[in-house]
Amino acid sequence: MAKRNMVEAINSGLMEEMERDSTVMVLGEDVGREGGVFRVTDGLQSKFGPKRAVDTPLAESGIVGVALGLAVKGLKPVAELQFMGFLPPALDQIICHISRMRNRSRGRFTCPMVIRMPYGGGIHAPEHHSESTEAMLAHIPGIKVVIPSTPSDAKGLIVSAIRDPDPVLFCEPKRIYRAIKEEVPDGEYTIPIGEARVVREGDDVTVVCWGAMVREVLNAAERIKEEGVNAEVIDLRTISPLDDGTILTSVEKTGRAVIVHEAARTCGLGAEIIARINEKALLSLEAPVERVAGYDTVFPLFKLEHHYLPGPERILRGIRKVMAF
């Protein structure tokens, strides 16, 4: 075991999978020689050569579109989109083809592949470098969407994503790429896709979050303790398929819930979570489920981004609101 941050953890996961399975390859803008603008693919090209760690032309649709072909023909492409803000050009291939090959061919052709992308705000970046549009992805049938919040989970989930028989979109909370260092198991280590994790136990209120928000929520959870409130914190880890079982069990216990996400509020994933709670645990609710989320505006440039991003203060406020109801 070695102490690693999330970038190093994902890198080691890629490294080990490429060693284990010669069909695994990474491709994207600057992922080869440069090792990725965030260094997630650092060292892969020098170790596995330019044919398995490939710098591509600057074209997101092209990257994921050829990856589909690579996958159908038996390779395991791990494509990188440099930022989730540049996911939109690739959406057509994802929505119209990647998510549908298995269904369209009634199982004859499949495209197990991974599309990685850093996402989320808080790094003082220019426009299009802070987006969180994961809810759009969760609305697309036929793909899985994974979002780690710790180095260990990141490694375990990237390995599972590479081994998954279906396309997996892997969203990396770049804000905490280097913020957390922890022991990350070397060698064979997987985390099952589709399973949320109870990060903190509590019986007064359930707080559901993912990605970079987990850290903010844990911070708030510690502070609300002083007010005698014991919060249970759930890190979804996979947002599609959604592990509503873990959420419901918790809400049935606590009777109260707050959902925290960076993405714009309207039609964000928070809405779906509320819908599931409403459908399956309405009678356990002692207060309306609260959403602490981004606003329905363009993500602001960094003079104002701290106002846009949910932080401990706003999360505390959300928890207090459901407790006071």
Partner: protein, 359 residues
């Protein structure tokens, strides 16, 4: 040959003249029997295409995109391919798919609104039909790239139309193919229209073939109604591809004799005169005259192959219509290798609903 016919210099490859005469020095070596077989296939495809149209008219099938007039382009190009090669059809490739081993029954089944028609047999390297125009050449590049990395000597062929060349994905596919020198043939059937939009509104470039220059590889314009020209160009492009020479774009200049689809009325946007001008260029007529000239064609033989075609087409229709209805829940079953709990829940509720309804 491809290099000699520079589209930029207004050159276009034509070997078989409309009157059946043939440029002997350019003629590919196709045995007479082979030519007869290919003619027979073209006849079959035309009749199958006709049948698909009438099935739709009779309400026995859904929308259908006919390929009448494009038989030489599809037969000539596919016949030039090898065993392990892959093709990536769009929606108008009945001929190409059939030539590459997709049973007519399956093609018809698909247009009858049944996904099972797209489940080709193992070893049949035909991608499912891609409806989004211009989006699938990328897949042909990806498969070709993989084959290259796997050390297989095969090529992939993307079939698309003149309209498809306007899409961004066409550009990205051509560019990736050039950069990674993938063994890919971009086979464009320029049938002069994208639904109602004429070729000249699609791009200001004189030819579509010249677009290849933007990606550092060559393109050639061929008479798409000329079986020999299409075959020869594709053959050469394939040899180049499997010997590491990279991609080629072939623009097959042809004409859609029929409507865009069964939902379309061409008289709204094109004059009958235009159609009349193209009729003498009919790809079948040309091969027929050629064979006639060599005394390899007779009315009787024509009648015979047509009758045989009708027979097997009727069988295919019967088979397609005889396929048992899909299970209602089938559309849940191919979303993932293993159904997700959420989907399972939805399927169970769906089945419960059917039960309640008494289906």
């Amino acid at each position: 040959m491809i290099e000699q016919f520079d589209p930029h210099k207004g050159k276009i490859l034509r070997i078989l003249q409309p009157d059946g005469r043939c440029e002997e020095k350019l003629k590919p070596d196709l045995a007479d029997d082979t030519v007869k077989t290919l003619y027979r296939e073209m006849v079959f495809i035309r009749q199958a295409d006709q049948r698909a149209l009438s099935l739709q008219r009779q309400g026995r099938s859904g929308t259908y995109a006919p390929c009448q007039g494009q038989e030489a382009a599809q037969v000539g190009s596919t016949y030039a391919l090898g065993e392990g090669d892959w093709i990536f059809p769009s929606f108008r490739e009945t001929g190409a798919c059939y030539m590459r081993g997709v049973p007519l029954k399956d093609i018809l089944l698909y247009w009858m609104g049944d996904e099972r028609g797209q489940k080709v047999a193992e070893g049949t390297n035909v991608f499912p039909i891609s409806i989004p125009v211009g989006s699938h050449p990328l897949h042909a590049v990806g498969v070709a790239w993989a084959a290259q990395l796997q050390g297989e000597k095969i090529c992939t062929v993307a079939y698309f139309g003149d309209g498809a060349t306007s899409e961004g994905d066409f550009h990205e596919a051509m560019n990736f193919a050039g950069v990674f020198q993938t063994p890919t043939i971009f086979f464009c059937q320029n049938n002069q229209y994208a639904i109602s939009v004429p070729r000249k509104i699609q791009t200001a470039a004189k030819t579509l073939a010249q677009k290849a220059m933007a990606y550092g590889f060559s393109g050639i314009q061929v008479d798409g109604n000329d079986l020999f020209a299409v075959y020869a160009a594709t053959r050469e492009a394939r040899e180049k591809a499997i010997s590491g020479g990279g991609p080629t774009m072939i623009e097959a200049v042809t004409y859609r004799f029929g409507p865009h689809t069964t939902a379309d009325d061409p008289t709204k946007y094109r004059a009958d005169e235009e159609l009349e001008e193209w009729k003498p260029l009919d790809p079948l007529l040309r091969v027929q005259k050629y064979l006639e000239g060599k005394e390899l064609w007779t009315k009787d033989w024509e009648a015979q192959i047509k009758e045989e075609a009708e027979k097997s087409i009727s069988e295919a229709v019967q088979d397609a219509e005889g396929v048992v209805e899909p299970k209602p829940e089938e559309f849940f079953q191919f979303a993932f290798a293993e159904m997700t709990p959420n989907l399972k829940e939805q399927m169970d509720d769906f089945l419960a609903f059917l039960k309640e309804k008494g289906d």
